[in-house]
């Protein structure tokens, strides 16, 4: 166990470094620069700003300076919002994205697993097909269309929820549901497939032969095995929800992190961009680590190595 944790930690550091290196050189190869604006800056002002972010130094120097500052735990200042540290962006945005993401994932798991299990039990029938068709809406209709339609229906026709904004619990419901839709679909499909597989296994026949009630068999025995692929999927999904929630964040005007991923890259805000990329890597790694831990809990045959 200890060895497993240490090995993972070492890999995390190595991956962070490699991701940093790849992103760094990818970013600096693009054509535009952070100080291009509609109004051309005076050369003097540009020089001062470039010096502030070490952009006047050679690429190699910049690379080492950045690494040194990251090693000190300093993510630096944003280029486009010069008063703010990158850590401030994360501190403000991450809790919001996390709240949104956790709620969406929770809903996606509950609804997705339920649909998947029922569909698997009624395999091939009309219930199966219609349930899966319902779930697939989430991945068949682009998210932004779903969100726009939801706003029109629930905010303007039915007047149930506010159309956008952040700050009250009511404002949370629509975005959470829209964000959950594609994940529900994936989870439902995963559950259905793995459930079908598990249902054919010997230990379930044994359980059935023992005369256990069907609901008990499904919940206690089948589901536990069937959840493995779903759990595997959760790691990347949770990390993806942070970056992929962009559509929902823009449609509903939510100040989460997702928008920054795109905005920072589009405006060449190098420091912010890098901070976010590294954050993403860190989150993805941590979640995958948790997923691996939960394997051994769900399936005693799995050993951590």
């Amino acid at each position: 166990m200890m060895r497993f944790v240490v090995r993972r930690a070492v890999w995390l550091v190595l991956t962070l470094w490699m991701v940093f290196t790849i992103s760094f050189f990818l970013m600096r190869n693009t054509k535009g620069g952070p100080f291009d604006g509609e109004r051309t800056l005076t050369p003097a002002a540009k020089k001062v700003l470039e010096a502030r972010y070490h952009l006047d130094k050679s690429l190699g120097e910049q690379y080492w300076l950045a690494i040194a500052s990251y090693l000190r735990g300093d993510l630096g200042y944003s280029i486009k919002m010069p008063d703010l540290r990158v850590s401030y962006f994360i501190r403000e945005g991450l809790p919001i994205s996390a709240a949104l993401g956790c709620l969406s994932l929770a809903i996606a798991i509950v609804v997705g697993v339920t649909i998947g299990v029922i569909a698997a039990l009624r395999r091939g029938g009309i219930v199966d097909t219609s349930l899966m068709a319902l779930a697939t809406i989430g991945i068949a209709v682009p998210n932004f269309i779903l969100a726009s339609l939801a706003v029109l229906l629930f905010a303007f026709t039915l007047h149930w929820f506010p159309p956008a904004g952040w700050g009250t619990p009511e404002q949370l419901i629509l975005p959470v549901c829209c964000l959950a839709a594609p994940y529900t679909a994936y989870i439902a499909r995963l559950t259905r497939t793995s459930m079908l597989e598990v249902l054919g296994q010997d230990y379930l026949r044994t359980a059935m032969a023992k005369g256990l009630s069907p609901s008990r068999i499904v919940i206690r025995h089948a589901l536990r095995g069937a959840l493995l692929p779903v759990v595997t999927y959760l790691g990347p999904a949770a990390a993806g929800i942070l970056t992929g929630s962009l559509v929902i964040e823009q449609t509903f005007g939510i100040p989460g992190l997702g928008t920054h991923f795109v905005q920072a890259a589009l405006t060449y805000d190098y420091t912010l961009c890098m901070g976010l990329v590294l954050l993403y890597t860190l989150i993805l790694y941590t979640l995958n680590f948790l997923v691996d831990l939960s394997y051994s809990w769900l399936d005693p045959r799995v050993k951590l190595e």
Partner: protein, 410 residues
Amino acid sequence: MPEPSPSLPSAQPRELERYAALLRETEHVRGKSPARIAWQRLRKRWPAMISLAFLVVLALLAIFTPLLPLQAPRAVEMPRASLPPEVWNEAGSLGAKSDAIPSEIPVLDKISVKVKQEDDDGNVIEVSKEVDPPNPAIEQLQTGFGYDELDFFTRWLLRCRVHLFGSYAWNSWCGTDHLGRDLMSRIFWGARLSIAAALVATFVSLVVGVLYGAVAGYLGGRIDNAMMRLVDVLYAIPFVFIVIFLMTLLENKQYQETLAAIGINRMVIFFLMIGALFWLTMSRVVRGQVLALKHQQFVEAARSLGAGNWWIIRKHLIPNLLSIVIVYLTLTIPNVMLIEAFLSFLGLGVKAPDVSWGLLANEGRQAITPVIFHWWQVVFPGAAIALTLYSLNFLGDGLRDAMDPRLRNR
């Protein structure tokens, strides 16, 4: 039989006879090939079969879109902006003559012209040369449909279409968009781009992913470990970020010109790039499967019977890999289409005047507000995407069920 056959152990004549009898028997009960079984099983699943039929029709329609009597997909006509769907026009017919489309196309054979040329001695002589006809005729056709340039195949189809239908075109059965362009025509032309994008991207992911995964899985050991770690690292970079930077990188005129010189335009780059993002998962899937198969009993058995590497790869690895790859492909295509739509939402995808489903969906999104509700601008492109993605998903499910050997007896 060119393949090395398993050498039979030396045996008594009586036993040999028994073997011969067994062989004769097996000839009558020859097994069906896995593909055949899969197909038979797939045929029984109606959602998958309907999906397959839909996809085939869609592909044909997309390929032969220029032949259909559609309106010009790019002709901006502001007075007709955002008109609701109209199946029968005032005259009660399904179509009418369209001003934008040329009614006749002159035959465009090569013409011979005299050009002055220097011969080897430096004297100026006149040589006759076969050249393309003057541009206007081609231009007329292209500009009629709103294109700067068209590839040979499309131009040929368009000429056929003008020969067949003249300037007759169907009404705007799906309404018009905010610039007065016929939405149905745009959906059809958009299908070409969207489907092409999905196929090219998927193909790239297939080639790269399968090669990478198979090599890693087959070689195993340290190389496998290193190769998979690289995949892990690439996974850890958020994909939006890579897309944006690659896109901006490729907007560099120098790169574009270099690539254009070898016949790769912006759109192709776009396809390739998305494909390059998707090979990661494919390589993981393939590697896992190869690794699992390598130590399967039937592979070991074949090997102990003296089967060569090639035989094993051909008869055991490829068929077993194929099923999982095909299933994964049917799930990648929808993903690519969604990514294309997502990029259009960000304004990073296909650029006007090119048209794709993602672009249409995004334009449609802007047409439904509490003030205006041009439902047709979102419903039709949305339905096109949704139906295609539904079909692909159901087909994928059906294929998986049909190809899964473990489900074979149920």
